[in-house]
Symmetry: C2
């Protein structure tokens, strides 16, 4: 029997960030930048107007005051994207749209709203301050600057900066592709009109499809496979080319024929263990494939088919592995310490994960209530939980009021 800690350690030692790739901006969203992004140019490239208005030389507007209106002739109109060679002639102004280049010799923009909006000449009521409503070249970013460091997660605001600098592709750790296989003669697809008597609706593949996306990775749900060694082997071999990770659920029952165990024994280095936890004590992890060099060997998890066991195992082992493969340094969900609303029994020697509701605030503290029977957690309890209460291997009981470590789940 292997401890949760040892098994997680073995998993994390075996996986690493997916090899970096240049991807289009759309595909880079949510990914981790694989190397520093260096500005190839100033941003903005030239001084631009921050408002619709008139570009002027500020010192020429000193005569404008509350008592005396100053008027200047308008020599040109410039829109955003206009060429930038224009030089302001002394005593003149250039009408500029927001985003347009400010002509050489101009150092201020008088907003339309502060003028009479004249097209040939315009009148202003007070002097302009040098620099007002002008974004100088390089005001955002100077060429050569590291604008985003390797390791940065690319959200909307980072994508905006990269796009503004002209990057159409970014060098990132792509999101891991996770192939999901559900094994079991008893399984029927949800929504099937006439499931066989005794059939069990397939929940794991659908749940893990959602969980993989929530972890920021890309699921490929292959669907239901029978307890058939030949079919499972073929499906695995077919899927390995597109997988960064494979998760097999079900097929681990000794009495159902050890399908998964037998197939994996011939395909790679997957090790089957009993892990000291509940729910879900049977675990397979290792690598499969890789004849073309160890680098292409693909990590594989085999999880018990019971949906609660599969989901808890996903949270405890697969999700941190996926986060590491995506290049994240923060692998774990947030956790809080919460006081138990009432007590329950825990099995000796096993780490117990209990679907639970955590309520409270950082100020007042948190309170945790297990949902259903902590000894037999249900799919329903898990669906209503917002956390997993974690009871250590040494504890045989949780007392009311005791502080319990809780993993906070999404939603």
């Amino acid at each position: 029997m292997r401890s949760v800690q040892d098994h997680l350690g073995a998993v994390l030692a075996a996986v690493g960030p997916v090899a970096p790739l240049d991807v289009a901006l759309h595909d880079a969203v949510g990914c981790i930048l694989a190397r520093d992004l260096v500005a190839p140019r100033d941003l903005p490239a030239v001084a631009v107007a921050a408002r619709d208005g008139y570009a002027v030389a500020a010192f020429e507007t000193e005569g404008a005051g509350y008592a005396s209106t100053l008027t200047l002739p308008v020599a040109h109109d410039l829109r955003a994207g206009a060429a930038t060679e224009l030089r302001l002639a002394p005593g003149q102004a250039v009408r500029v749209a927001s985003g347009a280049p400010v002509p050489l010799g101009a150092d201020a923009v008088v907003p339309l709203e502060e003028t009479d909006r004249g097209a040939v000449r315009f009148a202003m009521q007070r002097p302009a301050a040098a620099g007002q409503h002008v974004r100088p070249a390089g005001a955002d970013v100077h060429a050569g600057e590291v604008v985003l460091a390797a390791g940065t997660r690319l959200g909307a605001r980072q994508i905006a900066l990269a796009a503004a600098l002209g990057f159409g592709r970014l060098h990132v750790h792509p999101t891991p592709r996770v192939v999901l296989l559900s094994v079991g003669d008893e399984l029927a697809e949800p929504g099937s009109s006439r499931p066989a008597q005794g059939a069990v609706f397939e929940a794991d593949g659908h749940a893990l499809d959602a969980a993989v996306r929530d972890a920021g990775a890309t699921p490929v749900r292959v669907g239901i496979l029978p307890d058939d060694r030949h079919v499972l082997r073929e499906a695995l071999e077919d899927q390995l080319v597109r997988a960064d990770l494979v998760v097999v659920t079900g097929g681990l029952s000794e009495l159902a024929g050890d399908t998964v165990k037998d197939v994996l024994a011939t395909l790679g280095t997957v090790r089957l263990d009993h892990v000291a936890m509940t729910p879900g004590f049977r675990h397979g992890f290792g690598k499969v494939g890789g004849e073309r060099g160890e680098d292409r060997a693909v990590p594989l998890f085999a999880l018990q088919g019971d949906p609660v066991a599969a989901q808890v195992s996903f949270e405890v082992f697969v999700r941190p592995a996926l986060r590491a493969m995506a290049g994240h340094t923060e692998l774990y969900r947030p956790s809080v310490a919460a006081r138990a609303s009432h007590g329950w029994a825990a099995p000796v020697g096993l780490r117990q994960f209990v679907p639970a509701t955590v309520l409270g605030t950082p100020d007042e503290g948190y309170r945790v209530t297990p949902l259903g029977d902590p000894g037999a957690p249900t799919v329903s309890a898990l669906a209503h939980a917002n956390a997993l209460a974690v009871v250590g291997e040494q504890d045989t009981v949780v007392h009311a009021g005791q502080t319990v470590h809780c993993l906070v789940l999404e939603g």
Copy 2:
């Protein structure tokens, strides 16, 4: 000039949840359930074994003790998915795989690990307790029970429950489809090999593509359109059929020809306002299309093309609207009160949004530091911020140590 509060109120009054639809489980992930989900059957449908082992009548195992081994003959093997008519004969056992139906007359499962694993007869060391390792019919869910209430967000754990109950499709508010149009003659696609002199790389569409996904909606980035009324009108008319919401960025400059204003004036009821905020004071919002009945009129936002203004406006108005359209009741990002690390000036009469870094913990309190010049926020500052500091319309200065309200951004 309209206040931020009034504009947000008008926006939220005009949008509502997207009409519910039956969608496949995969497409329901992240959506809000539109009506209560009622269990059509018990879960499990029959009593099943929770472990690989032997199904027995507990009272017949009373003779097993630490001193005396009890052996029972094995009458059958049952795997998960087996038909369920079997009845246990007195004095016998049935070998059951985890997930297999427990025969009538049996009320306990003796785990393999506690036996000699015999196939014809097996030996056990201690009595079984009635109910042990058996999940009775309905242990998870009873037929007729509301298992998920309307309004529930469907994550992995809720999808697992729905799938286990046999639902292949769910009635949800589908994720809103958001059409993104970027208007401006000056715009060039990032990655273009030879942008024209003076060109500006298109950042808004790419940034909002990511921001829309982060808000849980589905972006359709149409891309760059010139400042041409005819082209913009055609593009809008083409896209309306697939849009639940349209966001146009750029084309609001008075001096660039008011393209957006002119086109929208003929297409619907979009109103152009100055909203009392910075950055980004020009705002369009209303509905377009809808000749086939007011219901198909599509809400539309017109935002300034400056990437900082566009993103701040997205955060303040578009994101809450999208959340409401997706059926969420929680519309806003989390916010914290933080003490300013140093002071800065704020414009009178405008609500100021400042890219900022918020650090701290609930226990120690939070500290907010503006990034760059609060009066001229840059794309780069926004990319490095983890929050927007919000300064009220009445404040003309923020003092060091003053408490500032901060919207916490993702990442």
